[in-house]
Protein backbone atom coordinates (compact mmCIF):
# COMPACT_ATOMS: atom_id res chain seq x y z
CA UNK A 1 0.00 0.00 0.00
CA UNK A 2 2.81 2.39 0.98
CA UNK A 3 4.53 1.57 -2.30
CA UNK A 4 1.47 2.46 -4.38
CA UNK A 5 0.83 5.63 -2.44
CA UNK A 6 4.47 6.64 -2.67
CA UNK A 7 4.51 6.07 -6.43
CA UNK A 8 1.54 8.38 -6.85
CA UNK A 9 2.88 11.07 -4.52
CA UNK A 10 6.28 10.91 -6.16
CA UNK A 11 4.74 11.36 -9.59
CA UNK A 12 3.09 14.59 -8.50
CA UNK A 13 5.79 16.00 -6.27
CA UNK A 14 8.91 15.25 -8.30
CA UNK A 15 8.80 18.37 -10.50
CA UNK A 16 8.38 20.89 -7.65
CA UNK A 17 10.86 18.87 -5.58
CA UNK A 18 13.48 19.13 -8.30
CA UNK A 19 13.04 22.91 -8.41
CA UNK A 20 13.19 23.14 -4.62
CA UNK A 21 16.33 21.00 -4.51
CA UNK A 22 18.05 23.30 -6.98
CA UNK A 23 16.99 26.32 -4.93
CA UNK A 24 18.06 24.61 -1.71
CA UNK A 25 21.51 24.07 -3.14
CA UNK A 26 21.77 27.55 -4.55
CA UNK A 27 20.61 29.61 -1.57
CA UNK A 28 23.63 28.94 0.72
CA UNK A 29 26.12 29.30 -2.12
CA UNK A 30 24.50 32.51 -3.37
CA UNK A 31 24.29 34.00 0.11
CA UNK A 32 27.95 33.28 0.68
CA UNK A 33 28.99 34.63 -2.72
CA UNK A 34 26.96 37.81 -2.34
CA UNK A 35 28.16 38.25 1.25
CA UNK A 36 31.81 37.81 0.39
CA UNK A 37 31.69 40.33 -2.40
CA UNK A 38 30.45 43.03 0.03
CA UNK A 39 33.90 43.46 1.55
CA UNK A 40 37.37 42.90 0.28
CA UNK A 41 38.45 41.63 3.70
CA UNK A 42 35.69 39.62 5.31
CA UNK A 43 35.90 39.41 9.09
CA UNK A 44 34.61 36.41 11.06
CA UNK A 45 31.62 38.51 12.02
CA UNK A 46 30.84 39.13 8.36
CA UNK A 47 30.87 35.40 7.72
CA UNK A 48 28.42 34.71 10.52
CA UNK A 49 26.25 37.65 9.46
CA UNK A 50 26.04 36.48 5.84
CA UNK A 51 25.08 33.01 6.86
CA UNK A 52 22.62 34.27 9.50
CA UNK A 53 20.95 36.37 6.80
CA UNK A 54 20.79 33.19 4.79
CA UNK A 55 18.35 31.91 7.43
CA UNK A 56 15.59 34.17 6.12
CA UNK A 57 15.90 32.60 2.69
CA UNK A 58 16.10 29.09 4.04
CA UNK A 59 13.18 29.57 6.43
CA UNK A 60 11.08 30.86 3.56
CA UNK A 61 12.22 27.99 1.36
CA UNK A 62 11.35 25.50 4.12
CA UNK A 63 7.81 26.91 4.35
CA UNK A 64 7.43 26.71 0.58
CA UNK A 65 8.89 23.19 0.49
CA UNK A 66 6.51 21.86 3.15
CA UNK A 67 3.57 23.54 1.45
CA UNK A 68 4.59 22.32 -2.01
CA UNK A 69 5.02 18.69 -1.00
CA UNK A 70 1.76 18.77 0.92
CA UNK A 71 -0.15 20.51 -1.85
CA UNK A 72 1.23 18.20 -4.54
CA UNK A 73 -0.24 15.26 -2.63
CA UNK A 74 -3.56 16.77 -1.68
CA UNK A 75 -4.26 18.92 -4.71
CA UNK A 76 -6.41 16.34 -6.55
CA UNK A 77 -8.62 15.87 -3.48
CA UNK A 78 -8.89 19.62 -2.89
CA UNK A 79 -9.54 20.31 -6.55
CA UNK A 80 -12.14 17.55 -6.84
CA UNK A 81 -13.69 18.47 -3.44
CA UNK A 82 -13.63 14.77 -2.70
CA UNK A 83 -11.24 12.84 -0.49
CA UNK A 84 -10.55 9.70 -2.51
CA UNK A 85 -9.16 7.90 0.51
CA UNK A 86 -12.54 8.02 2.22
CA UNK A 87 -13.91 5.49 -0.24
CA UNK A 88 -10.90 3.20 0.09
CA UNK A 89 -10.64 0.39 2.62
CA UNK A 90 -8.09 2.07 4.84
CA UNK A 91 -8.48 3.57 8.29
CA UNK A 92 -8.10 7.33 8.25
CA UNK A 93 -5.28 7.19 10.78
CA UNK A 94 -3.41 4.63 8.73
CA UNK A 95 -3.86 6.69 5.58
CA UNK A 96 -2.63 9.81 7.36
CA UNK A 97 0.33 7.90 8.74
CA UNK A 98 1.31 6.74 5.27
CA UNK A 99 0.85 10.21 3.79
CA UNK A 100 2.97 11.73 6.55
CA UNK A 101 5.66 9.12 6.14
CA UNK A 102 5.75 9.72 2.40
CA UNK A 103 5.86 13.48 3.01
CA UNK A 104 8.81 13.05 5.36
CA UNK A 105 10.60 10.85 2.85
CA UNK A 106 10.11 13.39 0.08
CA UNK A 107 11.19 16.27 2.32
CA UNK A 108 14.51 14.55 2.89
CA UNK A 109 15.55 15.42 -0.66
CA UNK A 110 15.48 19.24 -0.38
CA UNK A 111 17.13 18.95 3.05
CA UNK A 112 19.86 16.88 1.45
CA UNK A 113 20.23 19.53 -1.23
CA UNK A 114 20.55 22.24 1.42
CA UNK A 115 23.23 20.20 3.15
CA UNK A 116 25.14 19.75 -0.11
CA UNK A 117 24.73 23.43 -1.02
CA UNK A 118 25.85 24.51 2.46
CA UNK A 119 28.83 22.19 2.38
CA UNK A 120 29.90 23.47 -1.04
CA UNK A 121 29.37 27.08 0.05
CA UNK A 122 31.66 26.86 3.06
CA UNK A 123 34.20 24.48 1.55
CA UNK A 124 36.19 27.26 -0.04
CA UNK A 125 35.97 29.80 2.79
CA UNK A 126 39.00 29.99 5.12
CA UNK A 127 37.64 30.05 8.66
CA UNK A 128 39.33 31.15 11.88
CA UNK A 129 39.65 28.50 14.59
CA UNK A 130 36.88 30.08 16.63
CA UNK A 131 34.29 29.46 13.93
CA UNK A 132 32.82 26.21 12.69
CA UNK A 133 30.60 25.17 9.83
CA UNK A 134 27.20 23.67 10.44
CA UNK A 135 26.00 22.53 7.01
CA UNK A 136 24.48 19.39 8.57
CA UNK A 137 22.83 21.38 11.36
CA UNK A 138 21.32 23.87 8.96
CA UNK A 139 20.06 21.08 6.72
CA UNK A 140 18.53 19.35 9.75
CA UNK A 141 16.88 22.58 10.84
CA UNK A 142 15.61 22.99 7.30
CA UNK A 143 14.16 19.50 7.45
CA UNK A 144 12.42 20.26 10.78
CA UNK A 145 11.03 23.52 9.47
CA UNK A 146 9.78 21.99 6.24
CA UNK A 147 8.23 19.07 8.14
CA UNK A 148 6.43 21.50 10.43
CA UNK A 149 5.27 23.52 7.44
CA UNK A 150 4.05 20.26 5.87
CA UNK A 151 2.04 19.46 9.02
CA UNK A 152 0.57 22.96 9.23
CA UNK A 153 -0.48 22.89 5.58
CA UNK A 154 -1.96 19.43 6.04
CA UNK A 155 -4.03 20.77 8.93
CA UNK A 156 -5.17 23.76 6.90
CA UNK A 157 -6.12 21.59 3.93
CA UNK A 158 -8.17 19.33 6.21
CA UNK A 159 -10.17 22.27 7.48
CA UNK A 160 -13.09 23.50 5.46
CA UNK A 161 -12.84 26.90 3.82
CA UNK A 162 -15.04 28.41 6.48
CA UNK A 163 -12.88 27.02 9.28
CA UNK A 164 -9.67 28.24 7.63
CA UNK A 165 -11.20 31.71 7.51
CA UNK A 166 -12.18 31.36 11.15
CA UNK A 167 -8.66 30.30 12.16
CA UNK A 168 -7.15 33.18 10.19
CA UNK A 169 -9.55 35.64 11.80
CA UNK A 170 -8.80 34.29 15.27
CA UNK A 171 -5.06 34.65 14.67
CA UNK A 172 -5.56 38.21 13.44
CA UNK A 173 -7.78 39.02 16.39
CA UNK A 174 -5.21 37.57 18.79
CA UNK A 175 -2.52 39.73 17.22
CA UNK A 176 -4.69 42.82 17.49
CA UNK A 177 -6.18 42.16 20.90
CA UNK A 178 -3.08 40.83 22.68
CA UNK A 179 -1.25 44.19 22.59
CA UNK A 180 -4.32 45.94 23.93
CA UNK A 181 -4.73 43.44 26.75
CA UNK A 182 -1.03 43.54 27.60
CA UNK A 183 -1.11 47.30 27.52
CA UNK A 184 -4.16 47.33 29.76
CA UNK A 185 -2.44 45.19 32.37
CA UNK A 186 0.57 47.45 32.34
CA UNK A 187 3.01 45.64 30.07
CA UNK A 188 4.88 47.93 27.75
CA UNK A 189 5.04 46.80 24.16
CA UNK A 190 7.34 49.53 22.95
CA UNK A 191 10.42 47.62 24.03
CA UNK A 192 9.31 44.65 21.96
CA UNK A 193 9.91 42.21 24.78
CA UNK A 194 6.28 41.30 25.06
CA UNK A 195 6.24 40.02 21.51
CA UNK A 196 8.93 37.45 22.16
CA UNK A 197 6.35 34.80 23.03
CA UNK A 198 5.50 34.84 19.35
CA UNK A 199 8.97 33.84 18.22
CA UNK A 200 10.44 32.09 21.25
CA UNK A 201 10.01 28.39 22.02
CA UNK A 202 7.57 26.75 22.38
CA UNK A 203 5.98 28.88 19.65
CA UNK A 204 6.06 27.00 16.33
CA UNK A 205 7.36 30.18 14.73
CA UNK A 206 10.60 29.70 16.69
CA UNK A 207 11.50 26.78 14.42
CA UNK A 208 11.61 29.18 11.49
CA UNK A 209 13.14 32.27 13.08
CA UNK A 210 15.89 30.92 15.32
CA UNK A 211 19.55 30.63 14.30
CA UNK A 212 20.21 29.25 10.85
CA UNK A 213 23.94 29.83 11.09
CA UNK A 214 25.84 27.93 8.46
CA UNK A 215 28.97 29.36 10.04
CA UNK A 216 28.84 29.87 13.78
CA UNK A 217 30.99 29.90 16.89
Amino acid sequence: MYRHMFAVQWKWARAPLAALCVLGMMVPALAMRVGLTSYVSATPRDLTSFTAALGVGLAFLAIVTGAAVQSAGSWPDVHGKYVYALSLPIAWREYLFHRTLIGLTLLLLPALAVWLGGWLAVATVPLPDTLHTYAGGVAFRFLLASVLSFAVWTALVQLSGRRVTLVALLCLLALLVTPLVLSAIGLDLSSGGSWNWLIDPPSPVSVFVSRWALIDV
Partner: protein
Protein backbone atom coordinates in the same frame (compact mmCIF):
# COMPACT_ATOMS: atom_id res chain seq x y z
CA UNK B 1 -29.04 -14.54 6.73
CA UNK B 2 -28.35 -11.03 8.04
CA UNK B 3 -29.09 -7.91 6.06
CA UNK B 4 -26.33 -6.35 4.00
CA UNK B 5 -27.25 -2.79 4.99
CA UNK B 6 -29.45 -1.54 7.81
CA UNK B 7 -30.10 2.09 8.61
CA UNK B 8 -32.06 2.94 11.72
CA UNK B 9 -33.48 6.38 12.56
CA UNK B 10 -30.78 8.21 10.68
CA UNK B 11 -30.60 11.97 10.97
CA UNK B 12 -28.43 14.38 9.05
CA UNK B 13 -28.67 18.02 8.20
CA UNK B 14 -27.01 20.39 5.74
CA UNK B 15 -27.83 23.94 6.73
CA UNK B 16 -31.49 24.88 6.85
CA UNK B 17 -32.28 23.68 3.37
CA UNK B 18 -31.93 19.95 3.49
CA UNK B 19 -32.13 17.20 6.06
CA UNK B 20 -32.39 13.44 6.21
CA UNK B 21 -35.04 12.74 8.81
CA UNK B 22 -35.57 9.52 10.68
CA UNK B 23 -34.41 7.33 7.82
CA UNK B 24 -34.71 3.59 8.34
CA UNK B 25 -33.90 1.17 5.56
CA UNK B 26 -32.97 -2.48 5.13
CA UNK B 27 -31.15 -4.02 2.20
CA UNK B 28 -31.37 -7.82 2.34
CA UNK B 29 -28.23 -9.79 1.56
CA UNK B 30 -28.16 -10.93 -2.05
CA UNK B 31 -30.74 -8.39 -3.16
CA UNK B 32 -30.42 -5.98 -6.04
CA UNK B 33 -31.83 -2.94 -4.33
CA UNK B 34 -32.98 -0.07 -6.46
CA UNK B 35 -32.75 3.21 -4.63
CA UNK B 36 -35.09 5.58 -6.43
CA UNK B 37 -35.78 9.20 -5.98
CA UNK B 38 -35.86 12.48 -7.87
CA UNK B 39 -32.77 14.66 -8.06
CA UNK B 40 -31.98 16.24 -4.71
CA UNK B 41 -34.07 13.75 -2.75
CA UNK B 42 -31.07 12.63 -0.65
CA UNK B 43 -29.92 9.46 -2.40
CA UNK B 44 -26.24 10.42 -2.66
CA UNK B 45 -26.23 11.81 0.87
CA UNK B 46 -27.70 8.55 2.16
CA UNK B 47 -25.00 6.57 0.36
CA UNK B 48 -22.28 8.83 1.77
CA UNK B 49 -23.72 8.42 5.25
CA UNK B 50 -23.87 4.68 4.68
CA UNK B 51 -20.19 4.54 3.71
CA UNK B 52 -19.02 6.81 6.53
CA UNK B 53 -18.11 9.72 4.29
CA UNK B 54 -20.51 11.97 6.12
CA UNK B 55 -21.03 11.97 9.86
CA UNK B 56 -24.64 11.20 10.85
CA UNK B 57 -26.15 13.35 13.58
CA UNK B 58 -28.05 10.43 15.00
CA UNK B 59 -29.05 6.89 14.18
CA UNK B 60 -27.37 3.57 13.52
CA UNK B 61 -25.74 2.30 10.35
CA UNK B 62 -24.59 -1.26 9.83
CA UNK B 63 -22.99 -2.38 6.59
CA UNK B 64 -22.00 -6.02 6.11
CA UNK B 65 -22.15 -6.46 9.86
CA UNK B 66 -19.82 -3.51 10.57
CA UNK B 67 -21.00 -0.50 12.45
CA UNK B 68 -20.38 2.72 10.51
CA UNK B 69 -18.36 4.89 10.82
CA UNK B 70 -16.07 3.01 13.27
CA UNK B 71 -15.71 -0.13 11.20
CA UNK B 72 -16.30 1.39 7.81
CA UNK B 73 -12.80 0.78 6.47
CA UNK B 74 -13.18 -2.95 7.21
CA UNK B 75 -16.54 -2.93 5.49
CA UNK B 76 -15.14 -0.99 2.53
CA UNK B 77 -12.68 -3.83 1.90
CA UNK B 78 -15.74 -5.89 0.91
CA UNK B 79 -17.55 -3.13 -0.94
CA UNK B 80 -17.25 -1.97 -4.51
CA UNK B 81 -18.28 1.64 -4.74
CA UNK B 82 -19.04 3.70 -7.80
CA UNK B 83 -19.61 7.31 -6.77
CA UNK B 84 -21.78 9.80 -8.53
CA UNK B 85 -18.80 11.77 -9.87
CA UNK B 86 -15.34 10.69 -10.96
CA UNK B 87 -13.33 10.48 -7.75
CA UNK B 88 -10.08 9.18 -9.16
CA UNK B 89 -6.92 11.26 -9.40
CA UNK B 90 -6.95 12.99 -12.79
CA UNK B 91 -3.15 13.01 -13.06
CA UNK B 92 -2.88 9.22 -13.18
CA UNK B 93 -3.11 7.07 -16.26
CA UNK B 94 -5.80 4.40 -16.40
CA UNK B 95 -3.19 1.74 -15.65
CA UNK B 96 -1.81 3.71 -12.66
CA UNK B 97 -5.30 4.36 -11.34
CA UNK B 98 -6.11 0.64 -11.51
CA UNK B 99 -2.83 -0.28 -9.81
CA UNK B 100 -3.28 2.38 -7.13
CA UNK B 101 -6.88 1.43 -6.38
CA UNK B 102 -6.09 -2.28 -6.37
CA UNK B 103 -3.30 -1.73 -3.86
CA UNK B 104 -5.87 -1.16 -1.15
CA UNK B 105 -7.88 -4.37 -1.69
CA UNK B 106 -6.80 -7.80 -0.48
CA UNK B 107 -9.44 -9.35 -2.74
CA UNK B 108 -8.25 -7.47 -5.83
CA UNK B 109 -8.40 -9.51 -9.03
CA UNK B 110 -5.76 -8.00 -11.30
CA UNK B 111 -6.58 -10.39 -14.14
CA UNK B 112 -10.24 -9.48 -14.00
CA UNK B 113 -9.30 -5.82 -13.95
CA UNK B 114 -7.21 -6.30 -17.09
CA UNK B 115 -9.97 -8.30 -18.74
CA UNK B 116 -12.53 -5.61 -17.98
CA UNK B 117 -10.15 -2.89 -19.19
CA UNK B 118 -9.87 -4.63 -22.53
CA UNK B 119 -13.59 -5.39 -22.57
CA UNK B 120 -14.38 -1.73 -21.94
CA UNK B 121 -11.72 -0.72 -24.51
CA UNK B 122 -9.96 1.60 -22.07
CA UNK B 123 -6.43 2.59 -23.13
CA UNK B 124 -3.94 1.96 -20.33
CA UNK B 125 -1.90 5.11 -20.93
CA UNK B 126 -4.80 7.58 -21.11
CA UNK B 127 -4.88 10.07 -18.27
CA UNK B 128 -7.93 9.72 -16.05
CA UNK B 129 -8.56 13.45 -16.35
CA UNK B 130 -8.80 13.07 -20.13
CA UNK B 131 -11.35 10.25 -20.11
CA UNK B 132 -14.76 10.89 -21.59
CA UNK B 133 -17.77 10.56 -19.29
CA UNK B 134 -18.52 7.12 -20.66
CA UNK B 135 -14.94 5.95 -20.25
CA UNK B 136 -14.82 7.33 -16.73
CA UNK B 137 -18.03 5.45 -15.91
CA UNK B 138 -16.55 2.25 -17.28
CA UNK B 139 -13.34 2.72 -15.34
CA UNK B 140 -15.20 3.27 -12.07
CA UNK B 141 -17.32 0.20 -12.69
CA UNK B 142 -14.14 -1.76 -13.48
CA UNK B 143 -12.58 -0.67 -10.19
CA UNK B 144 -15.70 -1.61 -8.26
CA UNK B 145 -16.05 -5.04 -9.90
CA UNK B 146 -12.36 -6.07 -9.86
CA UNK B 147 -12.33 -5.81 -6.08
CA UNK B 148 -14.66 -8.87 -6.03
CA UNK B 149 -16.98 -7.16 -3.57
CA UNK B 150 -19.73 -8.72 -1.49
CA UNK B 151 -21.66 -5.50 -1.78
CA UNK B 152 -21.75 -3.13 -4.71
CA UNK B 153 -22.86 0.40 -3.99
CA UNK B 154 -23.54 2.25 -7.20
CA UNK B 155 -24.51 5.89 -7.13
CA UNK B 156 -26.10 6.85 -10.44
CA UNK B 157 -23.66 4.60 -12.33
CA UNK B 158 -25.19 5.18 -15.73
CA UNK B 159 -26.25 8.78 -15.39
CA UNK B 160 -25.24 10.75 -18.45
CA UNK B 161 -23.90 7.74 -20.34
CA UNK B 162 -24.93 7.04 -23.89
CA UNK B 163 -27.10 3.94 -24.48
CA UNK B 164 -24.23 1.80 -25.77
CA UNK B 165 -21.99 2.48 -22.80
CA UNK B 166 -24.94 2.13 -20.44
CA UNK B 167 -25.69 -1.27 -21.89
CA UNK B 168 -22.03 -2.33 -21.53
CA UNK B 169 -21.86 -1.19 -17.93
CA UNK B 170 -25.12 -2.80 -16.92
CA UNK B 171 -24.20 -6.01 -18.74
CA UNK B 172 -20.94 -6.21 -16.83
CA UNK B 173 -22.84 -5.60 -13.61
CA UNK B 174 -25.43 -8.27 -14.33
CA UNK B 175 -22.73 -10.73 -15.33
CA UNK B 176 -20.85 -10.10 -12.10
CA UNK B 177 -23.96 -10.42 -9.93
CA UNK B 178 -24.91 -13.66 -11.61
CA UNK B 179 -21.46 -15.09 -10.99
CA UNK B 180 -20.71 -13.73 -7.53
CA UNK B 181 -24.18 -13.41 -6.07
CA UNK B 182 -23.25 -10.14 -4.40
CA UNK B 183 -25.69 -7.64 -2.97
CA UNK B 184 -26.17 -4.58 -5.15
CA UNK B 185 -27.38 -1.21 -3.95
CA UNK B 186 -28.02 0.93 -6.97
CA UNK B 187 -29.18 4.49 -6.78
CA UNK B 188 -30.78 6.11 -9.79
CA UNK B 189 -33.52 8.37 -10.95
CA UNK B 190 -33.77 6.34 -14.18
CA UNK B 191 -36.69 4.23 -13.07
CA UNK B 192 -37.14 2.04 -16.13
CA UNK B 193 -33.50 0.93 -15.81
CA UNK B 194 -34.06 -0.22 -12.25
CA UNK B 195 -37.18 -2.08 -13.26
CA UNK B 196 -35.14 -4.55 -15.31
CA UNK B 197 -32.53 -5.47 -12.75
CA UNK B 198 -33.80 -4.76 -9.22
CA UNK B 199 -35.70 -7.09 -6.95
CA UNK B 200 -36.12 -4.59 -4.12
CA UNK B 201 -36.97 -0.97 -4.30
CA UNK B 202 -36.74 1.98 -1.94
CA UNK B 203 -38.04 5.40 -2.83
CA UNK B 204 -36.58 8.60 -1.36
CA UNK B 205 -38.16 11.99 -1.50
CA UNK B 206 -37.27 15.16 0.38
CA UNK B 207 -34.88 13.32 2.68
CA UNK B 208 -37.44 10.66 3.65
CA UNK B 209 -37.89 7.07 2.57
CA UNK B 210 -41.45 7.06 1.28
CA UNK B 211 -41.60 3.38 0.30
CA UNK B 212 -39.54 0.23 0.61
CA UNK B 213 -40.78 -3.12 -0.73
CA UNK B 214 -39.96 -6.02 -3.04
CA UNK B 215 -40.08 -4.95 -6.67
CA UNK B 216 -42.80 -7.51 -7.38
CA UNK B 217 -45.07 -6.08 -4.72
CA UNK B 218 -44.35 -2.56 -5.89
CA UNK B 219 -45.18 -3.38 -9.49
CA UNK B 220 -48.17 -5.61 -8.83
CA UNK B 221 -49.84 -3.71 -6.05
CA UNK B 222 -50.22 -0.35 -7.77
CA UNK B 223 -53.09 -0.16 -10.25
CA UNK B 224 -55.02 2.49 -12.09
CA UNK B 225 -58.82 2.00 -11.78
CA UNK B 226 -61.29 3.52 -14.21
CA UNK B 227 -64.42 4.21 -12.22
CA UNK B 228 -67.73 5.59 -13.48
CA UNK B 229 -70.24 7.30 -11.25
CA UNK B 230 -69.85 9.22 -8.04
CA UNK B 231 -68.16 7.73 -5.04
CA UNK B 232 -68.31 10.40 -2.39
CA UNK B 233 -65.95 9.06 0.26
CA UNK B 234 -63.21 6.50 0.03
CA UNK B 235 -62.89 6.03 3.77
CA UNK B 236 -62.96 2.37 4.70
CA UNK B 237 -61.65 1.22 1.31
CA UNK B 238 -59.68 -2.06 1.56
CA UNK B 239 -56.93 -0.53 -0.62
CA UNK B 240 -54.92 2.67 -0.37
CA UNK B 241 -55.89 5.40 -2.82
CA UNK B 242 -52.75 7.15 -3.97
CA UNK B 243 -54.42 9.50 -6.44
CA UNK B 244 -57.91 10.39 -7.63
CA UNK B 245 -58.44 12.36 -10.84
CA UNK B 246 -61.65 13.54 -12.44
CA UNK B 247 -61.32 12.71 -16.17
CA UNK B 248 -64.78 13.31 -17.68
CA UNK B 249 -68.16 14.31 -16.31
CA UNK B 250 -68.74 10.93 -14.70
CA UNK B 251 -65.38 9.23 -15.05
CA UNK B 252 -62.59 9.15 -12.44
CA UNK B 253 -59.17 7.54 -12.42
CA UNK B 254 -57.91 6.17 -9.14
CA UNK B 255 -54.36 5.08 -8.49
CA UNK B 256 -54.48 2.51 -5.71
CA UNK B 257 -52.03 0.34 -3.85
CA UNK B 258 -52.72 -3.12 -2.43
CA UNK B 259 -55.31 -3.96 -5.06
CA UNK B 260 -56.83 -7.47 -5.16
CA UNK B 261 -59.52 -8.52 -7.76
CA UNK B 262 -62.08 -9.33 -5.05
CA UNK B 263 -62.04 -5.67 -3.97
CA UNK B 264 -64.10 -4.73 -7.03
CA UNK B 265 -67.25 -5.45 -4.98
CA UNK B 266 -66.40 -2.64 -2.59
CA UNK B 267 -66.35 -0.12 -5.46
CA UNK B 268 -69.83 -1.21 -6.54
CA UNK B 269 -71.10 -0.99 -2.96
CA UNK B 270 -69.70 2.51 -2.68
CA UNK B 271 -71.81 3.63 -5.65
CA UNK B 272 -69.24 3.36 -8.46
CA UNK B 273 -68.91 1.17 -11.47
CA UNK B 274 -65.50 -0.36 -12.06
CA UNK B 275 -64.81 -0.25 -15.79
CA UNK B 276 -61.15 -1.17 -16.01
CA UNK B 277 -58.11 -2.16 -13.91
CA UNK B 278 -54.79 -1.20 -15.52
CA UNK B 279 -51.23 -2.19 -14.52
CA UNK B 280 -48.83 0.70 -14.08
CA UNK B 281 -45.16 0.43 -15.07
CA UNK B 282 -42.52 1.27 -12.48
CA UNK B 283 -42.06 4.81 -13.67
CA UNK B 284 -45.77 5.57 -13.47
CA UNK B 285 -45.98 3.93 -10.08
CA UNK B 286 -43.00 5.92 -8.95
CA UNK B 287 -44.53 9.19 -10.11
CA UNK B 288 -47.84 8.39 -8.46
CA UNK B 289 -46.11 7.33 -5.28
CA UNK B 290 -44.23 10.59 -5.08
CA UNK B 291 -47.37 12.56 -5.84
CA UNK B 292 -49.17 10.83 -3.00
CA UNK B 293 -46.30 11.24 -0.61
CA UNK B 294 -46.04 14.95 -1.33
CA UNK B 295 -49.84 15.48 -1.13
CA UNK B 296 -49.91 13.67 2.19
CA UNK B 297 -47.07 15.79 3.46
CA UNK B 298 -48.80 18.99 2.40
CA UNK B 299 -52.15 17.81 3.85
Amino acid sequence: MSDAITLRNLHWRAGKEFAIRDLSMTVPTGAVYGFLGPNGSGKTTTIRLMLGMLPALDGQITVLGHVVPDGVHTALARIGYVPERLHLYPGLTVEEAIRYHGGFYASWDAKEAERLRRHFTLRAETLVGRLSKGEAGKLMMLLALAARPELLVLDEPTDGLDPVVRRDVLAALVEFVEKAGSTVFISSHLVHEQERICDWVGVMDGGRLVAEMPMQAFRAGIKRLRVMGKVALLDGAPFAVLARDQVGVREEHWVVRGWQPEMAAWVTQAGGELRDVMDLDLEESFVELLRTARTGEEG
